[in-house]
C-alpha cells in the first residue's frame, strides 16, 4: 500500500459516503426554501431503503427499485407536506413521528417477508464505475454522479428560474407570495414531496448501489447529518455539494482509520483501539460534523418563514 493508494481509497469512500447525504440535503434545501422543515428524512430513508430491498429481491431489477423508492419517498414527503401546509401541523413533531413509525414498519415488514428482525437477504446491485488513476483505481458509484447533477439542476431551478423565485417567496414571506398569485399550500406540498423523492433515491442508493442488503441500522443518522448539512451549506445546493463531501470524508476517514489500526503496529497503550476503541471511530464523524457546524454557523441566513405554518386570512 503506497500513500497514493490510501488517498484514492479515501477519495472513493468519501464520494460514496457523500452521495446519500447530498441527495437528502439537496431535497431538504428545496423543501426548506418553500418554508417547510422536514426532520423525517431519516425515516424516509429507512422506508425507501427497505422498499428497494423488497423490489430488488422480488424483481431482480435495481433500476425499478430506484424508481419505486423515489415514488415512495414522494408519497411520504407529500403526506408530510399535506399535514404541515394544509393542516398547519407542527412540522418538527410530524417529522419525529415519521422517524418513529419508520422503524416499526421496517421491522414488521422484515419479519413478515423474511422471518427476521435484523435485515434482508442480499440483493442485486448496480455496477460501479472504475476509473484508473495511475496505478490505482478510483471506484465511482453511478448514483454519485446523478446526485451531483441533481444538486446543480436544483441550484439552477432555485436561483435562475421564475419557479425558483416563487418557491423562495413561499419560504421568505408566504403572505406576499400569496398576493403575487402563488398557491403557497400547493407549492409547499409539492416541494416537500420532491424533497422526499430525493431522499428516496438516497435510501435506495444505500441498498442497490452500496451495501447490497437492508438492515435496520443502515441509515445510522444520515438523514440528520443531511439536515446539518442544509444549514451548513446556507441553503445553497452548490455549497451543499462541498458540505456533503466534507461530511462524507469524515465518515470515510473514520471507516478507513478503524481498518488501518488493525494493520499497523500500535504501541501497547493504544491497542484498545482494535477492540472496544472501535466505537470511538463510529463517534468521530458525528463529532466532526458538529464541530464544523458550530465553527461555521454564525453567518447563515435561513428562509424567514421556515417551519412556521402559513395560515390564510
Amino acid at each position: 500500500m503506497t500513500p497514493i493508494d490510501d488517498v484514492i481509497t479515501l477519495l472513493s469512500l468519501s464520494l460514496t459516503s457523500m452521495t446519500p447525504l447530498l441527495l437528502a440535503s439537496t431535497g431538504e434545501i428545496l423543501t426548506e426554501k418553500s418554508g417547510v422543515v422536514n426532520i423525517g428524512l431519516e425515516g424516509i430513508m429507512i422506508l425507501t431503503a427497505l422498499t428497494s430491498a423488497i423490489v430488488t429481491n422480488y424483481t431482480g431489477n435495481p433500476y425499478l427499485a430506484l424508481i419505486v423508492s423515489s415514488a415512495v419517498g414522494l408519497a411520504i414527503g407529500m403526506l408530510m407536506g399535506y399535514l404541515s401546509s394544509y393542516l398547519h401541523s407542527n412540522q418538527i413533531v410530524v417529522g419525529t413521528g415519521i422517524n418513529m413509525l419508520a422503524l416499526g414498519i421496517a421491522t414488521l415488514t422484515l419479519y413478515r417477508l423474511w422471518g427476521e428482525y435484523g435485515g434482508s437477504p442480499s440483493v442485486g446491485k448496480l455496477a460501479d464505475l472504475q476509473l484508473p488513476i495511475g496505478n490505482a483505481i478510483l471506484t465511482l458509484k453511478p448514483i454519485s454522479v446523478v446526485a451531483i447533477g441533481l444538486a446543480i439542476a436544483s441550484w439552477f431551478l432555485l436561483e435562475k428560474t421564475t419557479w425558483g423565485l416563487r418557491i423562495r417567496a413561499c419560504g421568505e414571506n408566504p403572505h406576499s407570495a400569496e398576493a403575487m398569485g402563488v398557491n403557497v399550500y400547493r407549492t409547499r406540498l409539492l416541494l416537500t414531496g420532491i424533497g422526499g423523492a430525493y431522499t428516496g433515491i438516497a435510501g435506495s442508493f444505500l441498498v442497490v448501489n452500496w451495501v447490497g442488503f437492508f438492515s435496520r441500522e443502515m441509515t445510522s443518522g444520515r438523514g440528520f447529518v443531511a439536515l446539518a448539512n442544509v444549514s451548513f451549506s446556507n441553503w445553497h445546493p452548490l455549497t451543499a455539494i462541498l458540505g456533503a463531501f466534507l461530511f462524507g470524508f469524515f465518515e470515510a476517514f473514520a471507516t478507513w482509520l478503524s481498518l488501518k489500526v488493525q494493520q499497523v503496529i500500535l504501541p501497547e497503550y493504544l491497542t484498545f483501539l482494535r477492540t472496544s476503541g472501535q466505537s470511538l471511530f463510529k463517534a468521530l464523524p458525528y463529532l466532526a460534523t458538529l464541530v464544523t457546524v458550530v465553527v461555521i454557523m454564525k453567518k447563515v441566513k435561513m428562509p424567514r418563514a421556515l417551519g412556521k405554518p402559513y395560515i390564510k386570512e
Binding site: H88, G104, F224, V300
Partner: protein, 359 residues
C-alpha cells in the same frame, strides 16, 4: 353585592371554559389513539398479516400491558423523566431532542459515583448534574452560536451512544461477566417498598416528585412564568424585561437534568447494571418526546401518558412471546399517535368540513 355576583359568575365561566378545554384535549387524544390503532391494523393487514391477528394483538397488549402495576410503574419512571426533559424546554419554546444522550451520561455518571462512593444521594445528584451540563451545551450552542438545537442534539446523541459504549466496555465491565458492568452496591440502590397492593419502586416517587416540582415551578413561580412567556412570545418577553437567553439556558439545564436523573433512576432503581450493547438504556430519550406530546405538554399529563406508553411497550413484549409478532408493533402505534397529535387544527378542520357538508 352586585360586584361579588359578577366575580362569582366570571369564576364559574372560567371553570366551565377550562373544563371544555380539557374535554377537547381528551377528545383529541382519544381520537388520535383510536386512529392510530386503526391505521396500524390497516398497515398490518396490508402487509399480509391475517386480519384477526391485529385484534388479538391489541387484546394481548391491553390485557397484559396494564395488569402488573408494580412493573408498569417502575418501567414508566425513567420515561416520565425523559418526557419532562423534552417538556420543560418545550414550555420555553425550545426542542430538546437530546434526552437520549443526556440519559446516557446521567446513567454512567450515577453508576460510577455509586461504585466509588456507595452513596445513593451523591449518585442521584451526579446523574442529574451530568445531564444538566449536557443540556447546557445545547443551549449555549443555540444562544451564542445560533446552531439549531435539533441538529446539534442529534449529532450529540449519536456520538454519545458510541462514546458511552466505549466507556462501558473499556472501564466499567465486570471481569467475570464481560458483557455487563459491575453492579450498583446495595447501599446506593433505590429501594422497593412493599405496600401490600403493589410493590412500589421508589424510582417512581423520584419521577413523580420531579413532575410535581416542575408543575409548581412553571405554573406557580415568577421564573416559570417568565419561561412560559418567553416560549409563547420571545418579543413580548423581551419587552417585559425578561432575559430570554438566560431563560433558554435555565430551561435546557432543567430538561437535561431531568433526562440525567432518568438515567440515574434507571441504573440505581431498576436495572442496577449496564450492558456493553446499551440495550437497557437505548430508546428512552426518543420515546420521551412522544410521551411529552401525548401528555399535551403538561407535567401531570406527562405522568399519565408515560404510564400509558409503558403499558403499550410491555404489551408489545407480550405479543412477541404470545403471538410471535415483533414487539415493534408498539413503536408503530406510538409513531402514528405522535403524527396525529401534531395536527392541532384537525378538530377544527373536521368541524368546518362537516359544517360545509351539511350545507
Amino acid at each position: 353585592m352586585n360586584g361579588k355576583v359578577h366575580v362569582m359568575r366570571k369564576l364559574l365561566e372560567n371553570i366551565t371554559n377550562r373544563k371544555r378545554e380539557y374535554g377537547l384535549a381528551l377528545l383529541e387524544i382519544s381520537l388520535s389513539i383510536l386512529l392510530s390503532l386503526t391505521i396500524t391494523a390497516g398497515i398490518m393487514i396490508l402487509m399480509g398479516y391475517p386480519s384477526e391477528l391485529s385484534l388479538a394483538a391489541y387484546t394481548v397488549i391491553f390485557a397484559k400491558g396494564f395488569d402488573n402495576a408494580s412493573y408498569l410503574f417502575s418501567r414508566a419512571s425513567p420515561l416520565i423523566l425523559t418526557a419532562l426533559a423534552f417538556l420543560y424546554p418545550a414550555l420555553t419554546g425550545m426542542f430538546n431532542i437530546g434526552g437520549e444522550g443526556q440519559l446516557y451520561v446521567g446513567a454512567i455518571a450515577s453508576l460510577v459515583t455509586a461504585l466509588y462512593t456507595g452513596s445513593l444521594l451523591l449518585a442521584l445528584i451526579a446523574g442529574g448534574l451530568a445531564g444538566a451540563a449536557l443540556g447546557m451545551v445545547l443551549a449555549l450552542l443555540r444562544v451564542y452560536r445560533n446552531v439549531n438545537e435539533v441538529v446539534a442534539a442529534i449529532m450529540i446523541n449519536w456520538a454519545l451512544f458510541n462514546i458511552s459504549m466505549f466507556v462501558i466496555a473499556t472501564y466499567l465491565t465486570d471481569p467475570s461477566i464481560p458483557h455487563l458492568t459491575k453492579q450498583v452496591p446495595d447501599s446506593a440502590k433505590l429501594p422497593v417498598v412493599d405496600l401490600g397492593i403493589i410493590r412500589l419502586n421508589t424510582s417512581f416517587l423520584v419521577a413523580l416528585a420531579s413532575a410535581i416540582g416542575g408543575a409548581y415551578l412553571f405554573y406557580r413561580t415568577k421564573l416559570g412564568f417568565a419561561m412560559r412567556v418567553s416560549g409563547l412570545n420571545p418579543i413580548a418577553s423581551t419587552i417585559a424585561g425578561f432575559e430570554n437567553k438566560k431563560l433558554v439556558l435555565t430551561s435546557f439545564a432543567l430538561g437535561g437534568g431531568m433526562a440525567g436523573l432518568g438515567g440515574s433512576i434507571l441504573v440505581l432503581g431498576i436495572v442496577h447494571r449496564l450492558d456493553t450493547m446499551m440495550m437497557s438504556l437505548y430508546g428512552y430519550g426518543f420515546l420521551g418526546i412522544g410521551a411529552s406530546l401525548l401528555g399535551r405538554n403538561n407535567p401531570v399529563g406527562v405522568v399519565v401518558s408515560s404510564i400509558f406508553l409503558s403499558g403499550l411497550l410491555i404489551g408489545g413484549q407480550w405479543i412477541e412471546t404470545r403471538l410471535g409478532l415483533p414487539h415493534q408493533v408498539a413503536d408503530l402505534i406510538i409513531g402514528i399517535i405522535v403524527i396525529s397529535l401534531a395536527i392541532p387544527f384537525a378538530y377544527h378542520y373536521m368541524k368546518t368540513f362537516f359544517r360545509v357538508r351539511r350545507k
